[in-house]
């Protein structure tokens, strides 16, 4: 009996009925579990017609929620981007003890549930927390206000850029940076002209995912924000409030923006993954030609 390994790998050796069954079950499951919920959002949003859909955006609270969401993401994403670049430079370009532990600590926020992510800031800045009394005496409000929302957003999106850049920069090594330094470039010049062009797609990838989560976070911000509508509501919180008011069309209209953002994120992610794969192959090729 002759069986080709390549046939096995592409499954062309599997009987047709096995292939058909497995593919049918997979596609049905994904269609039912993932595609249907996505489709339903747009169906519900446009159910009462276009004018009802657009009316939802003329509401003052809707505009405020969109502004608030953009503000939170606009602060959280750049801060986590700077952190991600600094952390990956320190981790990928130098050797030191406890590197594994540091990487694990950076990943920590991914392991913590959204509600607990909000809770920890209440324990620090809330009335029963460490600085609550002091903050109140000085008239500063963090919890149930905009700073709390921003802090919670920073926390839940903390690892996105760093986790993308650390393996990428480790893979690329430091040869090119050393070359730049030996040619007389200083640290900043080396970073801007050598490192950044090499990691730009990775940076974009991290920022894309970071932004999607920052704009969509619900659990953590709902813990630290008061539910006064129009006050400190983000888009996901506004959706929750509208839905609980039985204002279904408006809730789904708001949800459709975030769903659209999700789809754009997925498309961008696929494109960037292809780009990153190509670069990794071409950099491998250039390295092997250097050796030979």
């Amino acid at each position: 009996m002759s069986v080709n390994a390549k046939d096995l790998q592409t499954g062309s050796n599997d009987p047709l009925w096995v292939r058909t069954t497995v593919i049918t079950i997979s596609v049905t499951f994904v269609a039912l579990m993932l595609v249907l919920p996505l489709g339903v959002i747009f169906y519900e949003a446009f159910r009462k017609g276009l004018s009802a859909y657009f009316k939802a955006f003329q509401d003052r609270n809707a505009v405020r929620a969109i502004t608030m969401t953009c503000l939170a993401a606009g602060i959280a994403v750049p801060l986590n981007l700077i952190f991600g670049i600094a952390a990956s430079w320190a981790i990928a370009k130098f050797n030191f003890r406890g590197k594994g532990l540091l990487i694990a600590l950076i990943d920590l926020p991914f392991a913590i549930s959204p509600v607990i992510s909000g809770l920890i800031y209440i324990l620090v800045f809330g009335m029963q927390g460490w600085f609550g009394k002091w903050l109140e005496a000085h008239g500063i409000q963090i919890i149930f206000a905009v700073p709390g929302i921003i802090l919670a957003t920073i926390f839940v999106t903390f690892p996105f850029v760093a986790r993308e850049l650390i393996p990428l920069m480790q893979e690329q090594g430091s040869e090119e940076e050393w070359a730049a330094i030996s040619l007389g470039a200083n640290g900043w010049q080396t970073f801007w002209r050598v490192t950044l062009p090499n990691i730009k797609w990775g940076v974009l990838y991290g920022v894309l995912l970071c932004n999607a989560r920052a704009m969509g976070e619900f659990g953590a911000v709902s813990v630290v924000s008061s539910n006064i509508r129009g006050g400190t509501n983000t888009l996901p919180l506004h959706i929750d409030a509208l839905y609980n008011d039985y204002n279904s069309v408006a809730a789904f209209a708001m949800a459709s923006i975030l769903a659209l953002l999700g789809v754009v994120t997925l498309v961008g992610k696929s494109l960037l993954e292809r780009k990153l794969e190509q670069e990794s192959i071409s950099s491998l090729e250039s390295k092997t030609t250097e050796v030979s």
């Binding site: 069986v3 997979s26 249907l36 919920p37 509600v115 607990i116 809770l119 029963q128 330094i181």
Partner: protein, 278 residues
């Protein structure tokens, strides 16, 4: 510059980047997180114990763990089929299927929550057809399982994909040429080599489900003792201004999550030793 000199020399920027990394990490993550454990530590042991063993809290733990476990099992079975289809077969729409797997990562949980409610509520697209048969999908533990299955699927598929790609067919070919039939090859060659990834994917999906909030609360109905998950209970404690109570429940949930993620590390360490690869 010679290699010898380079091993002693360093690229610039270590102190700046490392200092900033540690500062930012401490301010945003480590100090606030330690506040949780310190809060729980300052609680009277009896209060702490009473909080985490009260009937309502235990019911919430049981529901959260049970529903997460079932959802992770469903995802392991279907996720394995999906990953197998994407890696092993070529069919139209394969790349689209591959891209759409990450949808639960990209969709905000509140959006998923109201979408699932529109499908599974008693008046929803699917819910209204199941209600006559006495199956209540939303506002029941079943609805919670559905939501947790939704958010957990990518973890299983994305963990299995690289492992499947690495399975190059040579061992299968060898088994087949030695006279093993397809079924024997599947159980003796494919399943054992995928076991570490299956376990890792299952555990990651399970850990994620334990802490999920947004997508669940819409479909759960949140009836105390019946469909109230642990995350929601933390919020209702906060609404009652019972901050220590919220911290106590949170510490238990967080410890469980950490334990589970340690198991993942263990599995990976074990599988590396089994395959003899560094």
């Amino acid at each position: 510059m010679s290699n010898n000199a380079r091993s002693k020399a360093m690229l610039p920027g270590f102190r700046l980047t490392m200092g900033y990394t540690l500062l930012y990490l401490s301010l945003i993550v480590l100090i606030p997180l330690s506040a949780l454990f310190l809060k729980a530590a300052t609680m009277d042991w009896n209060d702490f114990y009473e909080t985490i063993t009260s009937r309502r809290v235990v019911a919430a733990y049981r529901l959260t763990f049970g529903a997460s476990l079932i959802a992770a099992l469903i995802n392991t079975v279907f996720g394995a089929l999906v990953a197998w289809s994407i890696v092993r077969y070529r069919f139209p729409g394969r790349q689209l299927l591959d891209a759409i797997i990450d949808l639960p990562f990209a969709m905000p949980t509140a959006v998923s929550g109201i979408a699932l409610m529109a499908i599974y509520a008693p008046t929803g697209l699917i819910g209204k057809h199941l209600l006559p048969y006495g199956i209540k999908t939303a506002i029941s533990p079943l609805g919670i399982v559905i939501a947790l299955t939704f958010i957990g699927l990518p973890f299983v598929v994305r963990t299995l994909q690289p492992a499947l790609e690495e399975l190059d067919g040579e061992a299968e070919q060898a088994a087949a040429s030695l006279g093993a039939n397809r079924w024997q090859t599947f159980w003796r060659i494919i399943v054992p080599s995928l076991m570490p990834s299956l376990l890792t994917g299952f555990t990651l999906a399970f850990a994620r489900a334990l802490g999920e909030y947004g997508s669940v609360i819409f479909v759960a109905g949140n009836i105390p003792m019946k469909t109230e998950i642990a995350s929601l209970l933390i919020i209702s404690k906060l609404d009652d201004a019972d901050v220590p109570g919220a911290a106590a429940i949170a510490v238990v949930m967080l410890s469980a999550t950490f334990l589970i993620l340690l198991v993942v590390q263990g599995i990976q360490w074990w599988s590396q030793r089994m395959t003899g690869r560094a």
